[in-house]
Amino acid sequence: MLTLDLLINGLIIGVFYALMAIGLSLIFGILKVVNFAHGEFYMVGAYAYTLSALALGISPWVSLPFALLVGLLLGLVVERLLMRPLYSGYTSWGVMRDEYAVIVTFALSIFLINIVDKVVGPYAYKGPALIGISRITIGPLAISGHRLIAAMVAVTVIIVVAFIIRYSFWGRQIQAVSQNRLGASLAGIDTAKASAIVFSLAGGLAAVSGALLANIFNPTPDVGVFPAIKSYVIVVLGGMGSVPGSIIASLILGVFESFGGVYISYQYRDTFGLFILILFLLFRPQGLFGEKAREV
């Protein structure tokens, strides 16, 4: 029975990891940079969900899309104000793109953590539950009602996003830009708009992840730091830029941490992912579904 408990818990946690990691993977796929403020998009979503429900007394089912909206807008604003120089005129600043992205997103991360700490305060806030059942018992299994519903919402969101990326008009344009930015531009695709959509989508996904976990992980200003670290690991394991890879890697990591925490060592549970990361970087740096780099 413990095995089943651990498997269910691992898969549920993996789903939340996936929701967070997909956005990061999309950003890397299209901009070829890592967003070090991704954890703070998660944090902002968690607070948007929690505070709107607590302060305004609205249903959590209304707060959830509100958190999504806040994440989408935050992503859009960040892309427009901070990330545009990466592909329009940055070379005239004499700053290399990778260093620019690292500096700007790190600074944004520190800024967001501290502004929330000062404006909202340092105290933790438990987000409202999506469902009023504290525990659902299925045979010998006991799962938090909110955790189960939140996982189902997360799966739904992932499926919708995957569908949009694969089949929609803008999804195909995003794929084109991620394959070859110059080529897509020559084909008439507005690459800046595609980048804005991706960044906004990533912000929205991270915000929804934070919102869904707000009842479980009680938001504080630094609540996004840990999930962000997990996301970086997952994106590399799955293959940078690969959405299916991120999903599979998330589930694998969630289950591995769940079992490893019991059967290997709970104290080193969070190092398992880092250990696997090192192995992949040494022996399969392209990850599960990534492509080896080619230069033409």
């Binding site: 700490d117 009680n218 941490e257 490893g260 019991v262 709970y266």
Partner: protein, 405 residues
């Protein structure tokens, strides 16, 4: 008759001279190291800051210390030892403080006392519970706050009184958490033989504790001891409840960190804290000296909040510095240290004096820090309504303990 050319400037200069002479004494600078940003416990840091400011106002409104006002200089440690080290270094070398206080996290305190010792500056440890802080034996360090050995003894005796046979502790991966978990084990082995005890270390940064909790479902313990600070502590309590491990008719929870009086406790923990026993350094039904009542009243007037133990610990820390300076009539380190070593002073919680026994945790420790045990008996219950099940200095009264049905 003075010419107009010089009259007005002279008059203005005289005004400045007069004002300067009215505040001729330089303020006494006291350095404060607290967490004001993550990953440190900002809620603790804020409570400590409130307590120090209430105390500083009381001191300054009464004319200061030997004619000089107290000035608090804050540094944010983020709860990180390296930053605490840098903060104390800056306070001593650049701000020229006469003493350092306020620290509320053991890991940061352990780093800060090294600097204070190197520069021979008095360090009043407000809330670092780790016994190692005392065991270092630094003459500059004084501890008017609680210490892990005191909690460990309290926990062992409570487990014995409750008749618990199987106890599991969850501790955070810090000097405080792991240190206390080990001490509890040692005290249970000494005072409550026959109790099976083990502890699990949880990463306070990680949020998913289910892999550590799930194995308990098959064989739930009689008592789960929580040795964590918020927000990790809140998440642990919620996840224990979510899985049906505790609180149940079989398994109670014991809060060894005294978090039930934190301002954000109820907004994070619903019925997960039902019938939780709490190691409390403050309860409104505890008798308080007059100074304690004044501090409590001033705090409530300022913040509209209920007093908590960190308020009194912080206030006592600053009052002790002031008393030392007053007694020694000096801000020199050796004079202040000598004054503190001989002090017998009634603070906000009782009469404070420091042990001179150099072995172990007792050095420069106020050994008789008062504590109680109380029980949460309803959701969103104010601390004043939480049931006292152990009065200060008395054993646990089992007839008052309520069990979960």
């Amino acid at each position: 008759m003075p010419s107009r050319r010089f009259g007005l400037p002279t008059f203005v200069a005289g005004l400045f001279a007069f004002s300067a002479s009215a505040f001729a004494a330089d303020p006494i600078k006291v350095g404060v190291t607290i967490a004001q940003s993550p990953p440190g416990s900002v809620s603790q840091g804020t409570q400590v800051k409130d307590g120090l400011e209430v105390a500083a106002k009381i001191i300054n409104d009464a004319g200061g210390v030997n004619g000089s006002k107290i000035e608090l200089i804050y540094e944010d440690t983020q709860g990180i030892p390296e930053k605490a080290r840098a903060a104390v270094e800056k306070l001593i070398t650049r701000d020229q403080v006469v003493a350092v206080t306020g620290e509320h996290q053991s890991s940061a305190a352990l780093a800060g006392i090294e600097v204070a010792h190197r520069y021979h500056v008095p360090y009043i440890n407000t809330n670092g519970w780790s016994d190692v802080i005392r065991e270092k034996g630094y003459p500059e360090v004084f501890n008017p706050g609680n210490y892990n050995s005191r909690v460990a003894i309290a926990v062992a005796e409570t487990m014995k009184s409750l008749g618990a046979k199987n106890v599991v502790a969850f501790c955070e991966n810090t000097d405080y958490g792991v240190g206390l978990a080990k001490l509890i084990g040692a005290q249970i082995a000494e005072r409550a033989q026959g109790i099976s005890y083990k502890y699990e270390t949880l990463d306070r940064a990680s949020k998913d504790y289910l892999p550590a909790i799930l194995p308990l479902k098959a064989n739930p313990p009689d008592m789960v001891v929580e040795i964590m600070l918020p927000p990790g502590a809140y998440i642990l309590l919620n996840q224990l409840n979510e899985q049906g491990v505790a609180p149940t008719a079989k398994t109670m929870i014991y809060d060894a960190s005294g978090i039930a009086d934190y301002p954000d406790f109820w907004q994070n923990v619903g019925d997960a804290a039902k019938n939780m026993l709490v190691f409390g350094l403050y309860h409104p039904k505890m008798p308080l000296p007059d100074l304690g009542k004044k501090v409590a009243a001033d705090y409530t007037a300022k913040t509209k909040g209920d007093p908590n133990r960190l308020l009194f610990q912080a206030a006592d820390s600053l009052f002790l510095i002031a008393e030392a300076i007053k007694t020694a009539k000096s801000t020199k380190a050796d004079d202040m240290i000598k004054a503190l070593e001989g002090i017998k002073w009634t603070g906000t919680r009782g009469e404070v004096s420091f042990s001179s026994e150099k072995s172990g945790f007792k050095y420069h420790q106020w050994l008789d820090v008062p504590y109680v045990t109380f029980q949460v008996t309803a959701v969103k219950q104010p601390v004043a309504d939480m049931k006292l099940v152990q009065d200060p200095g008395k054993p646990l009264d089992m007839s008052r303990v309520e069990k979960t049905k």
